[in-house]
């Protein structure tokens, strides 16, 4: 605790020394790409801005650490850039502070001139079909958190030993990530920063066959070419795609000409379907199943574990088939069904943001209603009222789509809105007394007896993970429980 106060005092003095009375205090909630890009752009745009980034986890970087697949280390390099931001003089990181439980939105807004919410999407869409709660059915998010060593999923322990078949519902990049992790030789995964418990479990995995099931066709696949090329090129992996599924309608063909990504994805799938293969023994299989939607999950003999997915064939109609933005309106059941027997199901049908108290939320879209990042309190057309000083960025603002770099432009837009509002003088406190900013946050945390993890605490975790990783020939060995993370951060 003494350490905390000491650190707090240091942070405070830093805040007071560097900035005069023009100081603008900003609190960013969520330290993933959206949060850090917002911080970076705020710091660049305003010399008198002081940015505090809070996160419910003891560790920064959000999906860079817990979303990006362990076999994609290049994608994680961006953490270097974010670290430079966190260590810049006018920026501070406060880990282990959960908005909504230890601190409320109104408390933050009372203390900061500007609050930017970029806490992402930590829940899942559900299918809402019978059997969805059977054992052996997980969201892809949980599975990803598990293999990436997220402290909320370290004990998920999916059973990979009682079946040879897994079904993945969805065909976005997350679906391809989880398929790749299930199918990749463990010797290759062992060299990544995959969590220790996941590696051990995959070592004993009996899964040899993975089905990727998509409601629409190969011309509407939501994945990107990079991820698809990677999995199609995996060694000793037999790719199966039904030739009939690759027949596309003239309207699809027209549409593909305009859509660069979809066109290249379709070409990769076509090429994979037609390339000759002679499967050697013991090889693994990846099946692409198009035009099927899950109708229900069927239990196995024991009655409580999933045994099969009951699928209904779908067709796309007319112009609607190209509407990647309206996936729910374009698939029709044909009344023809088939089952895929399996013992593991991963639902990769989309993440979902969670609302918090005092925050306007569009439950239908799963986002915060906003105008270029400005949070709207009422959002009927023509009657838009802005919540002063409250902004959103990232998935909470635009829904759970896009790549790391999408947040760059997303943050740019939000910061442009903030800058406009600052120039108009909309963010000065009505009472005339400046908001306390960091000083207020530290006071609040002290009153509530909350221990936060500063960036230097994360650096201790980081150093420990790298040290243990080095001994095991991995880039890092992630610390995977709350207790150990807090211990390693030396709070």
């Amino acid at each position: 605790m003494g350490r905390l106060f000491l650190h707090g005092a240091r942070l405070l003095s830093r805040g007071f020394c560097s900035l005069g009375s023009n100081r603008i205090s900003v609190c960013i909630v969520g330290s993933g790409p959206a949060g850090f890009y917002t911080a970076e752009k705020m710091l660049k745009a305003h010399q008198t801005v002081e940015v505090d980034i809070i996160d419910r986890l003891p560790t920064p970087f959000g999906l860079v650490r817990y979303g990006v697949a362990p076999d994609h280390p290049e994608t994680k390099i961006v953490a270097n850039q974010f670290s430079r931001v966190a260590k810049s003089e006018r920026c501070s990181f406060f880990g282990n502070i959960a908005l909504g439980s230890v601190i409320s939105l109104s408390e933050l807004r009372e203390n900061y001139d500007i609050v930017v919410l970029s806490y992402g999407a930590e829940s899942d869409r559900s299918l809402g079909i019978p059997g969805e709660d059977l054992n052996g059915i997980y969201s892809a998010r949980e599975f990803v958190w598990w293999y990436n060593g997220h402290p909320d999923c370290f004990n998920m322990a999916p059973d990979l030993k009682s079946t040879d078949t897994a079904v993945i519902l969805g065909l976005g990049n997350v679906a391809l990530d989880v398929a790749r992790i299930l199918l990749r030789p463990v010797s290759e995964l062992a060299k990544t920063d995959i969590s220790d418990h996941a590696l051990a479990s995959l070592q004993d995995s009996t899964i040899r066959k993975v089905y990727l099931v998509a409601r629409r066709g190969p011309a509407q696949a939501a994945c990107t070419a990079k991820e698809l090329r990677e999995i199609l090129g995996m060694k000793n992996l037999h790719i199966k795609i039904q030739q009939v599924d690759l027949d596309i309608s003239p309207s699809d063909e027209e549409e593909l000409k305009k859509q660069r990504i979809q066109k290249r994805v379709y070409e990769l799938l076509s090429k994979a379907a037609s390339s000759p293969h002679c499967p050697p023994a013991e090889q693994r299989e990846l099946h692409f199943v198009f035009f099927r939607k899950p109708d229900r999950f069927l239990p196995s003999e024991n009655g409580c574990t999933v045994g099969a997915v009951h699928l209904e064939k779908t067709f796309l109609e007319g112009k609607a088939s190209n509407s990647s933005l309206l996936p729910h309106t374009c698939k029709f059941g044909r009344g023809e069904f088939e089952d895929i027997t399996c013992g593991l199901v991963l639902k990769s049908i989309g993440y979902k943001s969670l609302p918090i108290d005092g925050l306007p939320f569009d439950n239908h879209k799963g986002v915060v209603p906003n105008l270029k990042g400005r949070v709207l309190s009422s959002y009927q057309r023509g009657h838009e009222a802005v919540e002063h000083g409250l902004y959103v960025a990232g998935w909470l603002k635009r829904g759970p789509i896009g790549i790391v770099a999408t947040n760059l432009y997303c943050a740019e837009e939000t910061v442009a809105s903030i800058s406009e509002d600052v120039e108009k003088g909309l963010l000065t406190a009505a009472s005339g007394t400046p908001k306390p900013g960091r000083q207020g946050l530290l006071q609040l945390l002290e009153n509530k007896n909350i221990k936060f993890v500063p960036f230097s605490g994360w650096e201790k975790i980081d150093a420990k993970e790298k040290m243990v990783g080095q001994q095991r020939n991995k880039p890092r060995e992630k610390v995977t429980t709350w207790e150990d993370l807090l211990k390693a951060s030396n709070v």
Binding site: Q81, R264, E267
Partner: protein, 180 residues
């Protein structure tokens, strides 16, 4: 610095010597130039001594002039040593070109737009991997490239590169790069 340069030349040789699988979307429009370049690379830079000599040469003098046009249309002209990527050159000269993956071909943030098709045509075709990333680039044009993959060579002297947001101005001016 020197080692870094050396490793890049090695990398370039490895890359250009390998059989290149072209994506069906890219054309072999300037295949001839590409092949000649490849030929040169494999022949002249075959031994490590040759690489050393080449690198010393690069290090000492030869530079080309590159102009970056930023989001507000402001121009900055810099000298870039042969062999250096536009991403590195931008960063060494405080030009605000993003580089999330630090040139490892895993993101699209160093997207630049070659403002003159003639210069674009002097570049090697993008690899499948670069095209995969360009798929995701914001404001993609027919002459878009990743800054980390555009390496300074003599023919590129005078090249002008726009950062993506500047493209809005092109659109207004009616500038449409020709597809090829």
């Amino acid at each position: 610095m020197f080692l870094h340069r050396l490793s890049r030349v090695g990398f370039r040789i490895a890359r250009t010597s390998m059989p290149v699988s072209r994506s069906s979307t890219s054309t072999s429009y300037f295949g001839a130039i590409f092949n000649r370049f490849m030929h040169q690379m494999t022949n002249h830079h075959f031994s490590t001594t040759a690489i050393n000599e080449a690198c010393e040469g690069l290090e000492n003098k030869e530079k080309i002039s590159v102009t970056f046009v930023n989001k507000d249309g402001e121009e900055k002209t810099i000298s870039v040593p042969l062999g250096m990527s536009m991403l590195e050159a931008a960063h060494e000269n405080d030009i605000e070109l993003e580089g999330a993956c630090e040139g490892s071909l895993a993101c699209s943030t160093c997207h630049v737009i070659v403002m003159d098709v003639n210069y674009y045509n002097k570049l090697e075709d993008p690899t499948d991997e670069e095209n995969d990333m360009l798929d995701l680039a914001f404001g993609l044009t027919e002459t878009s490239r990743l800054g980390c993959q555009v390496i300074a060579k003599p023919e590129l002297d005078g090249i002008r590169l726009a950062l993506p947001f500047a493209t809005h101005n092109f659109a207004v001016d009616g500038y449409v790069p020709k597809p090829h």
